[in-house]
């Protein structure tokens, strides 16, 4: 039996959806741009003063055309991530602006070298099914920062990518880059390698930028992940269930826009809901209530039969310390037990502002434990224990059994040296951060950069140059 956890009863999900549909009519949804207004009006939606009242029937029709599941592919065109059902995948958190320097323990602006290190480590850890455009490279021109991050990831990885754009103007260049990577726009549509996070602004606002990108992704057939981020008590109702309801309304509105623009295009019921910290106004990503919000939101999406996403495995601590470990491991488990298809956030400190590659390798251990937990207690062979006792009697010599040798690798997750289970020896014991640093160095030294055909590199180059021109900055194709 696969263990699972459920926070909402079917009856409560029914009420959440019912009120979410009510919200879509009153107060309605703010829509930012003329093309969105036009699209909605042509579907018969009433839009007044930038506020749309979206009727339930239209939303339901649009949900019906959204795929129940889809795949992301790696660079070789193989299925690597299945969005759908109870499959669980993890990727490092996206878009941090700072990096924890392991020598000084200070958070400093992140640079290309940091992104490369994060990619190298993510690439070698099986716990991460996908890469993410994990940090912003402050050493690259910020006007094309989103494109540049994606370029660096594509140049260093085989895995699928969870990414996103910072502006409306930046999206096309990123799609073009992915099409160059896949060989053509058509290949990208058939075998998408990336999914794009797109955020509504709480409450109930599909801004010009967010909705523009949503429509463009739908038209290009590139998967969109709707990352609604209600902050309970700040930008959403203070009750967890009230925020889940707002989240549902925001995502339902997003799916409606998306499917109107590109029926059948893949779209994810995603989110980064959090509570609102009443002392600082921050978004405490490590709080258990934040995990509960992510779980409950995903449960609503699963109830509707849609692919799901959440933001977990992150912490509010500034260091890779006990708080970071506790918060991240706890939410990794909870997310896996909920069966969320893509769980973003590993490696992140400081409420999504700062990344740490050392934290990433520690989180990978928590994720491995979460996967182990989700596999549950399995049965192997015809008997549970008697057949083994038939061989050992009361001798206790289980280590010698062939069953032991055959099954221990499935029964136990064998952690990397990041986890200390050693007996105390002559060497003084080390702490997790020290071991994580060593592990990072080891993984980085083993990493091999994929090779690229010249023509792909040339295509990358020309897209980056074009986009740099558009943004009015000197181009920078580097990242090596």
């Amino acid at each position: 039996m696969r263990p699972r956890i459920q926070l909402l009863t079917p009856e409560l999900i029914g009420r959440i959806l019912c009120e979410a549909f009510e919200l879509l009519m009153s107060p309605g949804v703010r829509v930012g741009s003329a093309p969105v207004v036009e699209l909605l009006r042509s579907a018969g939606v009433e839009v007044n003063d930038g506020v749309a009242r979206v009727p339930e029937q239209l939303v339901r029709n649009c949900m019906a055309s959204a795929p129940r599941d889809f795949n992301l592919y790696n660079r070789s065109g193989e299925k690597a991530v299945h969005y759908g059902g109870d499959d669980v995948h993890f990727d490092p958190g996206s878009c941090c602006v700072q990096m924890l320097d392991p020598d000084t323990l200070e958070a400093r602006p992140s640079e290309t070298r940091d992104l490369v290190r994060l990619i190298q480590v993510t690439e070698s850890l099986p716990q991460f099914a996908a890469q993410s455009t994990a940090v912003v490279c402050n050493d690259a021109p910020s006007a094309i920062g989103d494109l540049y991050r994606l370029l660096v990831v594509l140049q260093h990885s085989h895995k699928p990518v969870v990414t996103g754009s910072f502006s409306a103007a930046g999206l096309q260049g990123m799609i073009d880059l992915l099409a160059a990577d896949s060989g053509s726009q058509d290949n990208l549509r058939k075998k998408p390698r990336a999914v794009f996070d797109v955020c509504p602004s709480p409450p109930l606002n599909w801004s010009e930028f967010g909705s523009h990108n949503l429509l463009e992704l739908a038209r290009a057939g590139v998967p969109a992940e709707i990352v609604s981020m209600p902050l309970a008590g700040g930008t959403a109702p203070v009750t967890l269930v009230g925020s889940v309801t707002q989240h549902a309304a925001e995502v339902l509105a997003g799916i409606t826009l998306h499917q109107l623009a590109g029926p059948g295009s893949p779209v994810v019921w995603g989110g980064a809901p959090a509570i609102f910290d009443m002392r600082t106004g921050g978004a405490p990503m490590g709080a258990v209530e934040t995990a509960m919000l992510n779980m409950a939101c995903a449960e609503v999406g699963k109830h509707l039969g849609l692919p799901t996403h959440g933001y977990l495995v992150a912490t509010d601590s500034k260091f890779v310390d006990a708080q970071a470990g506790a918060e991240s491991a706890r939410s990794a488990m909870l997310g896996a037990l909920t069966g969320i298809n893509m769980i973003s956030g590993a490696g992140m400190l400081e409420s999504l502002a700062c990344h740490s590659v050392e934290k990433l390798v520690i989180d990978a251990e928590s994720i491995a434990s979460a996967y182990r937990l989700v596999r549950g207690v399995e049965t192997r062979g015809a008997t549970l224990a008697t057949a083994m006792f038939a061989q050992t009697g009361l001798s206790g010599e289980f280590l010698k059994l062939k069953e032991t040798r055959a099954h221990f690798r499935q029964e136990q997750h064998l952690p990397s040296p990041v986890i200390d289970r050693s007996a105390r020896g002559s060497e003084p014991p080390s702490d997790a951060f020290t071991r994580a640093r060593a592990r990072v160095n080891e993984l980085v030294s083993q990493y091999q950069k994929p090779s690229f055909p010249e023509d792909v590199l040339r295509k990358y180059q020309s897209i980056v140059e074009r986009e740099a021109d558009r943004a009015g900055v000197a181009s920078a194709l580097s990242g090596d």
Binding site: V97, A143, F166, G281
Partner: protein, 255 residues
Amino acid sequence: MCGGSRFLDVGPEYNPGLVSLIPRLICAGGSLSGQLFQAMRQSIIDGASDTAAELAQQALAIGVDPLEAVNQGFAAGITFAGDQFGCGQMFLPDLLASAEAMKAAINILEPEMLKRGSQREALGKIILGTARGDIHDIGKNLVATILSASGFQIFDLGTSVTPEEFVAKAKEVDADIVGISALLTTTMAGQKAVIEALDRNGLRPRVKAIIGGAAVTQKWAAEIGADGYSRNAIDALELAKNLMSKVMNKGTAQA
């Protein structure tokens, strides 16, 4: 202030129902105005808008100087609330309720202050907004709340504000400080653009420019020639107060 009780010691309970007695007591040399001020303070700390408004009305009814009511009564409450928030004893919903109560009281006292020409001096005029292309506004709103609760006059231009809009407002209200928030690395360039626009329009150095946001660093602030930056709302208050003292000094030095 930290560690203290959230509640001021109001002393003998003030009973608003006794309002008719007040003039007599004052005449008799009682310290009821002192008690009234304390009740005003407490109404702000409690975030009780109705009580605050009622007390303001009573003050007018018995001829208490409205400016004194603000300075010795209500404002003391908001200062206390701000301090308590600063050290984690009060929370944002409490602080917002206190700010609302303050507004309710001022609304009632203002016409009388205008009549007497005894307007309360704001600590300074500050324009706030989020840089062009950026819709993050939680941090900026928090800064606005704290600054305004502490006596600054705030003009909040909202999100995705262009340099031209900042400049126009700064001219219009004769601002002392312009504060630009940016949470995205892509929109931080907008902070620079605003500072350049202030320079171009000859507003600086008289008008000070301050910045903030998750990715803003000391280095960035120095690079774009900002007059200061802060990492949170409480520090923003200190920053603004320090800059105001410079604005004042400059004023007298030039005079």
